[in-house]
């Protein structure tokens, strides 16, 4: 509630600041606007920024740290022996306090100390919100009056405002770097925690994947071994099947579209391929699991083969369909960028169209096509929904496309879906897999980029 009030106050003061700033600038020169350094609106924006920005920044900082600060104060007031325990019991205690404070029953009779802590937590938070409202409003009023006092005909309001906007622009473009840093740090950090409980060498080269960890010591089949080789093999198998579908079909359709197709065919078929690219992956997954997999199974059985109902073939084939437009549109661009003079020269020597394509156009376009295929592979490796829905969970180390295999992304998804504690090796292993996935796809992209840069023919 206080937060809504604060935001409304801030919006009000900012708007007021704009009009006051503008009016006082005009007043300062007696209406002769030409005597001002900047257009009056800039003085308005200047005052508005001073009114809104500091308070808003305070609001953001408080919003990000409030929970933590209040929790520390609450924990500090608890008796020493309660907060001394292990990290786990501490996080359990915190969760209890938060639940009781939010009015959610924890299902057992709460400890009076915890109850008091929860009350204190609520009280401190309310107090914090009131303080935020008071300080925020005061800051806004102070900023407004300070900025208004500085308005004078020779105040370079436009430059000051533009400087703020510039900082905003730079900040926004840094978000991309922050995101990458966030990805790398969170993956590396969590993977490191995993590798302290499970050696990295066993993870990368172990042949046994069974992430179930024992709840009871006497449980069967709960060794909790995290050898990821079966996952890598399964990923490669499905990717290979997908590429066997996507590369011939995608490449040939790109060749046909750019070299043979009359304009009307191209105009209708290009959107068709784009629709294929725009279909959400969950739809492909549904199709693979409920239509393709039973079909492959029946087909195999009619030929007397035993086919798993979660065969790698079904998942890989559907993934191939998904990647066709990716390969074809990238190859299309590359083939189109081969200059016409090369083709004309080849025709002039008497070559047919297909000879020209095979012996002139494709070699010239090869680096681009290689890069396109590598990007497609990276896409196939990172694809999650199709394999989660249509590939199995059993980590078989096999090259038989009719059997069920599992992939890196499937395991990440199944390990992390559902509530579970955040520091069991089972959960952490997903971050280890995520790190491998990130490194591999990133390398593929980098290599693809380098291939294009290094081997691209320069024609002019």
């Amino acid at each position: 509630m206080q937060i809504t009030v604060l935001l409304l106050v801030l919006v009000g003061l900012t708007a007021a600041g704009y009009y006051m700033g503008r009016a006082s600038a005009v007043r300062a020169v007696g209406g002769r606007i030409a005597a001002l350094h900047s257009v009056p609106a800039y003085y308005g924006v200047y005052v508005a920024l001073w009114a809104g920005l500091p308070a808003f920044l305070l609001f953001l900082v408080w919003g990000a740290s409030e929970n933590w600060i209040v929790m520390q104060m609450v924990l500090g007031a608890l008796p020493q022996n309660m907060t001394d325990g292990s990290e786990q019991s501490l996080s359990l205690l915190k969760a209890d306090i938060l639940n009781i404070a939010a009015g959610i029953s924890t299902g057992r009779e709460p400890d009076p100390v915890v109850l008091a802590a929860a009350e204190r937590y609520n009280m401190l938070r309310a107090l914090g919100d009131w303080m935020l409202l008071a300080i925020g409003s005061a800051l806004a009023v102070a900023g407004l009056s300070y900025a208004r006092g500085r308005i004078a005909p020779d105040l370079r309001a436009r430059n000051l405002v533009e400087r703020v906007i510039n900082v905003f622009l730079v900040g926004c473009s840094l978000v991309a770097i922050l995101t990458t840093a966030g990805i790398v740090l969170s993956l590396v950090f969590e993977a490191m925690r995993f590798f302290t409980v499970y050696p990295i060498f066993d993870f990368l080269f172990g042949l046994q994947w069974s992430p179930q960890t024992a709840i009871r010591a006497d449980q069967v089949g709960s060794s909790g071994s995290f050898g990821a080789v079966p996952l890598f093999a399964g990923t490669l198998l499905i990717t290979l099947i997908a590429m066997l579908v996507a590369v011939p079909v995608g490449l040939m359709s790109a060749i046909y579209m750019s070299e043979y197709a009359p304009p009307r065919v191209r105009a209708t078929m290009k959107p068709v391929l784009e629709i294929l690219a725009g279909i959400p992956t969950v739809v492909y997954g549904f199709f693979a699991a409920l239509t393709m997999a039973p079909f492959v199974r029946r087909l195999g059985e009619s030929m007397g083969m035993s086919v798993s109902s979660e065969s790698a073939l079904a998942a890989g084939f559907v993934m191939g369909i998904m990647i066709i437009p990716f390969v074809s549109s990238l190859s299309d661009d590359v083939i189109n960028s081969v200059p016409q003079s090369l083709r004309d020269g080849s025709y002039g020597l008497g070559a047919t169209r297909s000879e020209t394509i095979r012996q002139v156009v494709l070699p010239a376009a090869l680096p681009g096509i290689v890069a396109a295929v590598m990007l497609a592979i990276s896409r196939a490796i990172g694809e999650t929904m199709i394999v989660t829905m249509a590939a199995g969970l059993a980590a078989n180390l096999t090259a038989n496309p009719l059997q069920a295999v599992t992939t890196v992304t499937t395991q990440i998804a199944t390990l992390l879906v559902g509530d579970q504690e955040f520091d069991s090796p089972k959960t952490l292993s997903a971050f280890g897999l995520g790190l491998v996935l990130f490194v591999v796809t990133l390398s593929l992209n980098m290599i693809a980029l380098r291939v294009v840069q290094k081997y691209r023919e320069k024609y002019d």
Binding site: N166, C172, V282, V283, T352, S354, M389, T409, L416
Partner: protein, 432 residues
């Protein structure tokens, strides 16, 4: 060939054969191309055809008309007409009494239970809602259309065949007899399935709808839009118009291109490790989903916006600078409005991507079973693609058609968004 003299190379047998072979190869090559394009098109048709074929029946739901006597002794024996009394009235008994009255010959307990099972477990709630809306119904007898159970629905739609032996069928002979009897009295009808559009999730297929998922998707996309557009456009303006050419800006550019190719599930891991664990944001909330999707669509929007800004000719900037505008004014007042259609198109395409995205949202817990329709950005919610993912796992036959119907609705949204993007591009595209 007019110049070919007898005995010349061009008249030799080998030459003609080679030429024929080359032309045949040419035809073959072209045929491969046509086959490839046709294969892609056929796959699209099969994919869409399967989904439409499986899903179109889900837009209708079997309803059964029952004569319901709103018995005052049963609903409100004290006659207080108090809302809390009405809300807890045993309306299930009303439904059962009505069915029992229609089939007086069915008396055995197990058979009675089978008879009651032709109605949905949601039917009593329909009556409760009617009572709350209009308490004057009490004491009257009305004929009311109530939802049939999913098995009866599938039977009426012809997915459950009566030729199958009873033990292999989810509808018993007795139920079939009852439904046939009701149908002969014109008391069975397929009506438009509004629950599918307005309802939340449910374990009972006939009560499950995507209303909650659509609201969740809307809230999530709102957060995504509010974050990714301002940040993306600002970043594009900086990189395209102001950034000096140096190592830093190169790094940012390489970064953006790489982010565009990072698998979406990795963004889910980021969301889980940073937003949920470090910042302690709520699980399953649209605000977290929106944040993750915003980071994911940011590269798309930045790249599209940069292309749009680049397409504005330098003469516009120079003219603005020439009449005394500052660089920022030139960009904000002149270049940006001219680039707006392109930016908008890129934004819509990015949003369409975000709407269809599933994997990262699984990581941050938006995969929970949520019955209520979310009311705010921090409520637990799910989104349309995740709903499809969850329904696809359900064993009931009725969920198969509902999943396909949900896919059709999702594809409808995507097609609409892309159509708007194409129209925008067509209408505002300018060649300089």
């Amino acid at each position: 060939m007019a110049i070919a003299r007898p005995g010349s190379y061009y008249l030799s047998e080998g030459y003609a054969a080679r030429l024929r072979a080359r032309y045949a190869a040419e035809q073959r090559f072209k045929a491969y191309g046509i086959a490839a394009v046709a294969a892609a098109a056929v796959m699209l048709v099969v994919l869409l055809g399967t989904i439409v074929g499986q899903g179109y029946t889900a837009f209708w739901q079997t309803q059964i008309r029952l004569e319901i006597h709103f018995d005052p002794a049963e609903i409100d024996p004290q006659g207080t007409r108090d809302r809390s009394v009405l809300a807890t009235a045993n309306t299930m008994k009303l439904v059962r009494d009505s069915l029992a009255a229609q089939f007086p010959d069915i008396t055995e307990r197990a058979e009675r239970r089978a008879l009651y099972d032709i109605m949905s477990s949601g039917a009593p709630f329909q009556l409760t809602r009617m009572l709350l809306d209009d308490p004057s119904l009490i004491g009257t007898t009305r004929s009311v259309w109530l939802t049939a159970s999913d098995d009866v629905d599938q039977f009426i739609k012809g997915y459950i065949s009566r030729d199958v032996p009873e033990s292999a069928r989810r509808v018993s002979d007795l139920q079939i007899r009852a439904v046939d009897a009701l149908a002969s009295r014109n008391a069975v009808e397929k009506q438009f399935n509004t629950v599918l559009f307005t309802g939340g999730d449910s374990r009972e297929p006939e009560l499950a709808g995507i209303g909650g998922a659509i609201v969740g998707s809307f809230l999530t996309l709102l957060v995504t839009l509010a974050l990714s557009v301002p940040i993306g456009v600002a970043a594009a303006i900086y990189l395209e118009e102001f950034a000096p050419k140096n190592r830093w800006t190169d790094l940012i550019e390489v970064n953006i291109n790489n982010l565009a190719a990072v698998p979406s599930i990795v963004f889910g891991l980021l969301g889980l490790a940073v937003f949920l664990s470090v910042f302690g944001m709520p699980r399953s909330a649209p605000v977290v989903g929106g944040l993750v999707l915003a980071l994911m669509t940011l590269p798309t929007i930045i790249i599209a916006s940069r292309a749009a800004l680049k397409a504005v000719p330098p003469s516009i900037r120079e003219a603005a600078l020439g009449v005394g505008a500052s660089r920022l004014q030139a960009v904000l007042h002149h270049v940006l409005p001219l680039a707006m259609p392109g930016i908008l198109t890129g934004t819509i395409i990015g949003m369409a991507q975000a709407l269809g995205e599933t994997a990262p949202l699984l990581m941050i817990g938006m995969v929970a079973f949520i019955v209520d329709i979310p009311g705010g950005f921090t409520d637990s919610a799910t989104v349309l693609p995740v709903q499809i993912f969850m329904w696809a796992d359900s064993p009931e036959r009725a969920f198969l058609e509902r999943t396909s119907a949900a896919i059709m609705i999702l594809l409808g949204f995507l097609i609409a968004m892309n159509a708007v993007a194409v129209l925008l591009r067509k209408k505002f595209e300018r060649r300089w």
